[in-house]
Symmetry: C2
Subunit: 364 residues, 2 copies
């Protein structure tokens, strides 16, 4: 397979708060950069939008008709079964038939995950695919998974998230030796829940990955860890807590800069530097959240995505597809069961020794 | 009992990274404001520290000897049993004997909780006392509990956290009608875990409290909710995620203001406004985390507490003691079991009706 895939990125033109206008705009912007895209949605609607952008002439952009749309409040599984020609599903069918190298949607995120599983399927060993949140850290882009697809998790899920995330960081983001950690309420091995302790014990035995044990909420954005695993409930709370905190601090900053005449002038002088800072933590620069554990490349972007977010998402889908990491992700996940079995058998040996010591006759 | 309690606040002089110097300094500062304090720790050590502050003459400050110290890495329960004359335990004994109106320690937080339970005891109906984190929101001071004492929780724990937190917000912080919510991964009732759904169902039936259902990580600092309950694992992750995010945004701000000559001048002009903003989100201004569900007033402050943090903590212990809310907190917690029983019996009725419908003979 060639290093760079010539297939277009499938873009769900109908998903998200700003569809179809902003989505089509973002796709056109990506095509202008030379990235081939196929817009998926109502042919008439998409062509109307495209017409607004004037002569597209030689741009690598095409349209694939899909007659139905998944609403934001549709039940994901039902939408996939009942609306068989919905734009999310059609995107995944293009990927499945190798007519697109990957897809992105700003629509119903549950439906995107459901569509990936229905159409592409899970990788053979993977119990639960996950959604990866790519974080804007001081240094690098740590991966936090799962960010919400799997609310209640078993040890095998988190162990596989770690193994899959490690491959993703290495192969797609180019991190030479990703540092992997389990999110917990403290650094000591005695901290955490039964779930986190079992997962950490299993990963400690994983050969070939750089497992660093527990990390804490305060480590998410430092860049000290590259892959951080947690259940989807905690991941969702952590992610929204970051968003909320950044927004509140930004709001306080805005208030502070308005509070006195001197600070207002200061704010004007610092405006472009503050703008650059804002860009650094802007979710639209991140380009969406990749799915991992399914047989192909799919990205979920924010429901509020605008053209900038979509163009960046197309770039990221492209890099992910060009990395051809799916097979290696699948092989990594296969190790999960054995790692957990080893922990269980260690625990049994320890118990057995305790039992022998307890029942042994006193030494003569 | 009088509205304002004349008893001193017991301050653990030996706990925390900056003990005893900064702790004694903070206690002296509080005493200078007219707040009576009793410093608990090695008599010689504390008196040496006090001597550095010159003539204390008429200040309402006294010393109570405690011969032992709990180390930061001591096992909390063992420390309480083996070091019977440790400064944390002696603080709680002063509270128990009504020689102090409450206590504060910057030491081993597990040991502070253990000491509270050993010496003061749990309130009769309370299954698990909790640690309340008082958050610096845009508006007001929302309470998040539990912030880490109870890592794995059952429904009764979270229901009682909500009921107790509601009384605390009303009686101690003076919030007229506290808005109570359960932290979850989405607003819809279908979201969350078995734990959060059961807790939300129970609280929905609670009369006399303003229960608002689920809130999300992004709502923690807006001030839209006054009491937010979660298990100690999630609470700890959320709290440290807030701290870490605020620190990273602050770091980015500092970098931005250094990035160009214009922004550097801007930063200088805005300096005092930015300082006021920093103060607003400074944990040292919060004054520590109250324990709730034990028979008396105890506060845990940050291990890195300095004199400012300690002085503020003494003020907060004082307000909490003056509110005389402990009995009402205990009565509120008593309703927990009944609220959960009602949910269980509702669920049974629904199941029974389903079963009847399923097994009923077809209508003629």
């Amino acid at each position: 397979m060639s290093e760079t895939c010539a297939l277009p990125v499938a873009v769900d033109a109908m998903g998200g708060d700003n569809a179809p206008g902003a989505i089509v705009q973002g796709a056109v912007d990506a095509a202008r950069e030379g990235l081939p895209v196929v817009l998926v949605g109502s042919d008439a609607v998409v062509r109307d939008e495209l017409a607004k952008h004037g002569a597209l002439g030689s741009l690598p952009i095409s349209v694939k008709h899909a007659s139905e749309v998944v609403a934001m409040d549709d039940h994901p599984g039902q939408a996939m079964r009942r609306k068989k020609d919905n734009s999310i599903r059609v995107c995944f069918e293009l990927v499945k038939r190798e007519e697109a190298c990957g897809m992105v949607s700003a629509g119903n995120s549950g439906a995107v995950m459901a569509g990936a599983i229905f159409v592409l399927g899970r990788l053979p060993a993977v119990e639960r695919p996950a959604i990866i949140s790519v974080l804007p850290a001081l240094v690098g882009h740590p991966l936090l998974l799962d960010m919400g697809a799997n609310v209640e998790c078993k040890p095998i899920h988190l162990v596989q998230f770690a193994l899959m995330g490690e491959v993703y960081a290495r192969r797609v983001l180019g991190v030479a030796r990703p540092r992997v950690a389990v999110l917990s309420n403290g650094e000591e091995v005695s901290k955490g829940t039964d779930l986190t302790r079992t997962v950490a014990a299993a990963l400690r035995n994983a050969s070939g990955i750089d497992f660093r044990g527990y990390c804490e909420g305060r480590d998410l954005l430092t860049g000290d860890f590259d892959v951080i695993v947690t259940d989807g409930f905690t991941g969702n709370v952590a992610l929204k807590t970051m968003e909320g905190t950044a927004r509140v601090v930004g709001e306080l900053l805005k208030q502070a800069l308005k509070s006195t005449p001197a600070s207002a002038i200061g704010g004007l002088l610092a405006k472009s530097a503050l703008g650059a800072m804002k860009k650094k933590i802007d979710w639209r620069e991140i380009g969406g959240a990749p799915l991992v554990g399914v047989s192909g490349v799919g990205f979920i972007t924010h429901g509020r995505s605008d053209a900038l977010a979509i163009r960046n998402a197309v770039r990221r889908v492209r890099s992910a597809a060009d990395a051809h990491a799916t097979d290696e992700i699948g092989r990594a996940a296969e190790q999960g069961e054995a790692l957990l079995a080893a922990v269980a058998s260690e625990a049994e040996t320890v118990n057995l020794e305790h039992e022998r010591a307890r029942t042994a006759p006193p030494e003569a």
